[in-house]
Symmetry: C2
Subunit: 332 residues, 2 copies
DNA sequence: CTGAAAGCGCTTACAG
DNA sequence: CTGAAAGCGCTTACAG
């Protein structure tokens, strides 16, 4: 049989109330009594039932994270970072993915309604931003990890897309590259506009107006990076560098460039965005704007936990700075 | 105020018992009564509290997964597959990682003791196989997803390492490659022995005894794949093909080969193991033994859920077959 | 077919 | 400093 608070109370000769107090360090209590209770707890190997505590307290000590497919490397990174923070506080992390579309959301909604967790972390909630906002308005603590520039009406953590892209421009300029091909993500995302603007800012500051023809749209996939490079080459575009809006497209593009006989970085210097671990494993290793993915996940989780402890969630987005990692794809 | 079973009972003019019955479809009940109760449930938007149900039933409808860092691509795949299965049954998935070593295990142990979930999925429990076995012996439903050949004393799902490696050998032989360099993982893992044996089997069947000198040890990382290739080249080893015990080492090795002026597949045909999505994004795209990672995750999750429903967990490992994916790294 | 009542294992005013 | 008692919101024998 599993030991309960009652067993401990009986054995220690105190009330359950007292045991509960030493467990939670609440209320003044005679240090000797506490000592005795602790001894019994150890002796019996007593651990409070998570179910009973959750029920009695009305909170679960569990936070949920809603994200698209975990099969994307970016997701593993944020999740990992958030899990670590949450675990440190003894909380559990419940994960939900949206790979099944509406069906996923229906299932997720059931857990929300059942109040199966105390707070929520969200990543890339394409199409359900309104639903999430509604949950937030209904009182569920929510923090969005906003890598797509959604700028929602509820708490979020994001990064400096514009400044990051500016750094990419400055780096390429410092290498004398004045005709960069830009491989963008889907323009409907706010971050794409920011990255384009920041990049243009950098060139404009050096007196270079970017040629709109040197812009190809991708969709963040490897294949779209390849396709973008193919289109640019077939169109006979002339470029001495390439700035892709994520690492993966940069990698796809580099493969195409190499097969076309172009050398990276000699003929084309390449810069990515994200700086995931795989960036270092490209050939050549990829220079990239470093997005603080882990910090974003950890910060969002910390905000949520602080909120449980009584701190209000900041209404303005929390912005974490990008940095810039130089590797062989630009640094010969 | 959130609506409870009491509100529904009152409004429908029945007892809480009856409401509970229509909720759980248990016991015979007048269809008209049930209909009326359902109407009230809809009207009030009633959803049973997950906390209260878990407490009353003594089970949580949550399964946990313990895995090493989520930052490894393999992990995202298994997790994703398991999450989908679990979500389909309305269960939640709690994730724990072991990136913090003993501290992680201590925290995880606290959740186990608190009976915070009904069953456990484990991946690569290096060093804590005994602890997990102990949990299993104490009655916690556990399934190991065994990609490392641990062959534990409790339920597990694994794949055909030996047969997979055999297929790699046959493929290389069909290409006329008789001097394969083998880049292994750490030999302490059972799967490595099996992959070596299966590969040797294939060659032996063709009358070729593999040269033990043509074996270099790696540790499953990209860098170790590079290092292995460097060592082989520096040692002046002659090989016309390369079989790496995972994709990532194959990718690392390919980079080194290319920089050494060797062409893949013309000079060296390369085969990996795992066939993660990234294999298709190598240059050239990587031929690989396909490990059924997703099926392994899904199967393990299904076994656990079936066990909750009363099915016994199989005592022998459940073995899922590998397949073989041919791409340009061997198929010029 | 339906309900009253006990029970799941804690926490938390309230009283002393 | 400590305890008796109510309460959290369900499920489940048991009785009818």
């Amino acid at each position: 049989m599993t030991v309960t608070i009652r067993d401990v109370a009986l054995r220690a000769g105190v009330s359950k109330t007292t045991v509960s107090r030493v467990l939670n360090g609440r209320g003044e209590l005679d240090e000797r009594t506490a000592e005795r209770v602790r001894a019994v707890i150890d002796e019996l190997g007593y651990v409070p039932s998570a179910r009973a505590v959750a029920f009695a307290r009305g909170s679960t000590r569990v936070v949920a994270m809603l994200l698209p497919s975990l099969a994307w490397p970016w997701m593993g990174e944020v999740l990992q970072a958030a899990v670590e923070v949450v675990e440190d506080e003894g909380y559990g992390m419940l994960v939900f993915t949206t790979t099944q579309g509406d069906e996923s959301m229906r299932r997720f909604g059931a857990h929300v309604s059942a109040r199966a967790f105390d707070g929520l972390l969200v990543v890339e909630p394409e199409g359900q931003l309104d639903y999430i906002a509604q949950l937030h308005d209904q009182g569920l603590p929510v923090v969005l990890i906003d890598d797509r520039g959604h700028e929602p009406r509820f708490p979020s953590v994001t990064t400096t897309n514009r400044v990051g892209a500016l750094a990419a421009a400055q780096h390429l300029l410092s290498l004398g590259r004045r005709r960069p091909l830009v491989v963008t993500g889907e323009p409907r995302f706010g971050c794409i506009g920011e990255r384009l603007a920041g990049f243009a800012d950098g060139y404009r500051a050096a007196g270079v107006e970017l040629d709109p023809a040197l812009r190809v749209e991708g969709d963040f996939t490897y294949e779209s990076g390849q396709a973008a490079a193919v289109r640019a080459l077939e169109a006979g575009l002339e470029f001495d560098s390439l700035f892709a809006h994520n690492d993966v497209m940069a990698a796809g593009a580099m493969t195409v460039l190499r097969h076309a006989g172009l050398r990276v970085p000699d003929d084309v210097a390449v810069v990515g965005f994200d700086d995931l671990p795989a960036a270092a494993q490209c050939d050549p290793p990829l220079t990239a704007v470093h997005q603080p993915i882990r910090e974003m996940g950890a910060t969002a989780a910390r905000m949520l936990l602080a909120n449980f402890a009584g701190d209000p969630l900041p209404s303005a987005p929390t912005v974490l700075p990008t940095s810039f990692t130089v590797r062989a794809s630009t640094a010969g």
